[in-house]
Subunit: 195 residues, 2 copies
């Protein structure tokens, strides 16, 4: 028991590094958000907005997915949603990271978390579909609040957002409709490029 416990403590100290992985998104106070803050915000969002999901789902399982989905970035770094070059190598880098980091845990928990991470990545189960929907939803809400600053900075095109949002719709038609309203509003304002 003590041996497994020390592995758990080692893992919990290792993932602390997520607090230093900066994303491109800015918080409402205009600082760059890190992965730990993003995951915390997503988890509460998922819980409060769960009734808008297209399908019934296991809320605890989906929240754990959300809490752990960016741990791989401790090794692989953050890949911006519209960085088309780095998106090509993202899967390989993140799979390698998942194997190293989750292997710090005792075998049974390693298998559980690795399996949840893969399920999230595949995006096919109801839990993964809603978790991924929230992963897209959270930064758009923040960025809209910040008058589209991140979209302006990265010269983001409407077609890029809509391509990514195919997955949002699988989790929640309702939330996706709201995101489309936000995108259209920002296209009119000129903060998202219309193409």
């Amino acid at each position: 028991m003590k041996r497994d416990f020390m592995k758990q403590i080692e893992f919990l100290l290792e993932i602390d590094k997520e607090k230093d992985i900066l994303r491109q998104t800015h918080t409402t106070s205009k600082k760059r958000e890190n992965d730990a803050e993003h995951a915390w915000h997503m988890a509460i969002m998922l819980y409060l907005l769960k009734d808008y999901a297209n399908e019934e789902f296991d809320v605890l399982k989906s929240i754990i997915m959300v809490l752990i989905h960016d741990i791989v970035e401790v090794d692989a770094g953050d890949t911006y949603a519209y960085d088309e070059e780095n998106l090509l190598t993202q899967k390989e880098r993140e799979d390698k990271a998942a194997n190293r980091i989750f292997s710090i845990l005792p075998q049974k928990q390693k298998e559980e978390l690795l399996s949840l991470f893969k399920e999230f990545e595949q995006g096919e189960s109801p839990e993964a579909k809603f978790a991924r929907c929230i992963d897209n939803f959270q930064p758009i809400i923040l960025n809209d609040y910040n008058n589209g600053g991140d979209w302006i900075e990265h010269k983001v095109r409407k077609s890029q957002i809509l391509k990514r949002n195919v997955n949002t719709k699988k989790g929640s038609e309702f939330l996706n409709n709201y995101l489309e309203e936000i995108v259209d509003k920002n296209v009119k304002k000129g903060t998202i490029i219309d193409n």
Copy 2:
């Protein structure tokens, strides 16, 4: 539905401020930790260490408590565990904050989250006991990793930590025993004052 949804979005943007509430604890990379990072770390910790709890408990309920327990600090600020002056007014400041912030939500969710927050504060249910145990456990693990820097800075005495840890024991005898080993080790090292 849309009216309730807009209240939920307003609440989710309001709690974003938690990412700027700094605690006295430092992360493994030696930066000051904020409340959102702390809550994220606690939620994963609670999930991975759940088998060490003294009693069976509802894991989802306990995780939601952990995720929301510091939202009141958006108004009330962080009160350091060993700041005996500000601890006297903490409850009053935090209850006022809870009423203001959770009232942004639709009525049903307001009642649910306010009730979860109060249950956490009372620390009597199995979910609250384990959540509070983790709330004490997380900073001690970080601070021990950082060679007791926070204890040195605040001249913390062993008796202060043990007084606070009465609640840790209610959640998990196992985790509390490990914390006591850490405290004894740090007293020997001179990072915690022996009294």
